[in-house]
């Protein structure tokens, strides 16, 4: 079958397999920030023949390699990839306020190359460098990276945690193997009797998500925006005071569990972060109080496979996890340089492995669409459809190797398992930089 986007057949598409076709290969899944390393996959005739241990989400991710691949385009016309790169460099070179956005699906190596590109552009322009997390998980990430909130690895959770709290997060839907690999079901060094006898899971959410369903005994349903009130109630019961909630008995039960906890782990998701926004200090207060009683760590539920890598890179440079402006050789945090603000002022957009036109609020998306967009992406998206220049790239983890940082900070290295002639994000960014 002819690919709709390029001259190759769907099967002969970017996946050209030499030795190793038909054989089973170990692979890493880059479908979410768990970066599962025990995947076994085999390919035949360019399609995924068989895969073990991939969850439904990861399986979809592996299969996505084979459809809707992009090809090099300028103004909708196919060109040689070198021409597209050249045009991208021209656009960026002449921009006064370029926005470089995305990055969370890139390897660390590509992120470093992106930073180098941003710094080079920054010698003559006002560059904004941002990712999707600046208005969400990034807020939590900063506090973790700054040491204000104590954290741990997922392996620590598996080995030691006897209480796992899913707060405004639904890992069963977003990181399906979270509970089976780390946070509830597996045995660990100090948790040999695991979920049956030694682990408790608690869900705090506005709806009975699939995860909340599993935590049935300890599911706390909040009103939308009620997280601060809930935290205050928890602080109250921990101090032996009467909590200001309807179900006082349940709250007191919760306090008992928290006090008996030997080693607790909290996994906050967008639900908590959006609810608290500028009241994050209250969460820190709760954590401090819990850590007076026992040990409670926080692991952020980042969505994309290397969102943390990008947060860490920006943090290292600026002390912040997002909204970075690079000008005259220096990088600094600036609220004006979050993608939401920069969208209205930028005069060129580089979208790397991201789909801002689908993900961002419509007003912001429209502002971006008014500017020339360069999209570096392996697959077709709303952004690639609207882009002036499209540069096809190799899929991180499948066709491009490198390093990604798991949600808990553990670095995972991987080699590509599918041969591809496509350039990697890193190679593309380096070439753009050279052309400037």
């Amino acid at each position: 079958m002819q690919c709709l986007h390029c001259d190759l057949s769907e099967q002969g598409h970017r996946v050209r397999l030499g030795e190793g076709e038909g054989e089973k290969q170990m692979a890493i899944c880059t479908g979410c920030s768990l970066l599962c390393e025990d995947i076994v996959a085999s390919f035949e005739n360019g399609s995924l023949k068989h895969a073990k241990n991939l969850c439904r989400r990861g399986h979809g991710h592996f299969q996505a390699a084979l459809t809707e691949r992009t090809r090099p385009l300028i103004d909708g016309e196919q060109v040689a990839v070198d021409k597209a790169i050249e045009r991208a460099a021209e656009i960026l070179k002449s921009a006064k306020r370029p926005l470089l956005y995305g990055w969370s699906h890139c390897t660390q190596q590509a992120q470093f190359a992106g930073m180098a590109l941003a710094e080079k552009l920054g010698t003559t322009a006002e560059v904004t460098l941002d990712g999707a997390s600046s208005f969400c998980e990034g807020i939590l990430m900063e506090r973790i990276l700054a040491g204000k909130i104590s954290t741990c690895t997922l392996d620590d959770v598996r080995n030691y945690a006897d209480t796992s709290i899913f707060w405004g997060s639904d890992p069963s839907s977003s990181h399906p193997r979270h509970l089976s690999r780390f946070s509830y079901y597996p045995r660990g060094e100090k948790r040999q009797r695991s979920y049956e006898e030694e682990r408790t899971c608690i869900a705090v959410d506005v709806r009975r998500s699939p995860t909340a369903q599993l935590c049935s005994n300890y599911y706390f349903r909040l009103q939308s925006g009620g997280d601060a009130q809930f935290m205050e109630a928890v602080l109250a019961v921990l101090d032996g005071k009467i909590p200001k909630v309807a179900d006082k008995k349940k709250m007191i039960e919760l306090a008992t569990i928290l006090k008996k906890t030997e080693w607790g782990a909290i996994f906050p998701g967008p639900g908590l972060i959006y609810s608290l926004q500028d009241k994050m200090d209250l969460f820190e207060q709760l954590l401090a109080r819990l850590n007076e009683i026992t040990s409670f760590k926080v692991v952020p539920m980042l969505a994309d496979c290397n969102a943390r890598g990008f947060n860490e890179l920006l943090f290292e440079k600026t002390g912040h996890a997002g909204s970075v402006s690079i000008q005259g050789g220096s990088a600094a945090y600036s609220a004006e340089h979050s993608v939401l603000a920069a969208a209205k002022k930028c005069d060129a957009v580089l979208a790397v492995g991201s789909d801002p036109l689908a993900d961002l609020p419509i007003g912001t998306a429209r502002a971006l669409a008014r500017q020339p967009i360069i999209a570096i992406d392996p697959r077709r998206s709303l952004t690639t459809d609207a882009a002036k220049v499209v540069i096809p790239s190799a899929l991180t983890g499948l066709e491009a190797g490198g390093t990604a940082v798991r949600m808990d900070g553990v670095k995972i290295n991987f080699e590509p398992i599918m041969k591809s002639e496509l350039l990697t994000d890193e190679q593309i960014l380096v070439r753009i930089m050279e052309a400037i």
């Binding site: 979809g60 839907s173 709806r207 939308s224 939401l340 036109l357 609020p361 419509i362 077709r380 709303l382």
Partner: protein, 127 residues
Amino acid sequence: MAEIEVALVAVRDIFQDEAGRKSLFSEEYRILSALITLDKQDMAGLAVKDGDKLLVKSEAGSIVVAARASKDDAKEAHPGLAFMCISPWYSQLVPDDGCERISVEATLAPTTASVTAIAEIQARMKS
């Protein structure tokens, strides 16, 4: 004409995510994304059943989606609170500072219009 106000919260769904990974432009993705989950009381208030179309309007924009009753039992009724998957449809409703809000305020009204197509959303980017 019946019309109600809701707080709209974005959630993840593994099947909708899977459909989106195959293609953002497919019917399957549209069916799973252009879908609002309402409390049974709100469905009754609007006099709609599963599959009926609703016009969803917020300060940022509007879309037409299909309605679906939530499976929560009476003890966990949530009138006034509605859910949609994170998707380009949802993004149409989010005000520019909406990323800093826990939920989006929207009004819902039954409509006979068809569900907004992805092509329509793409066209809106250009205006």
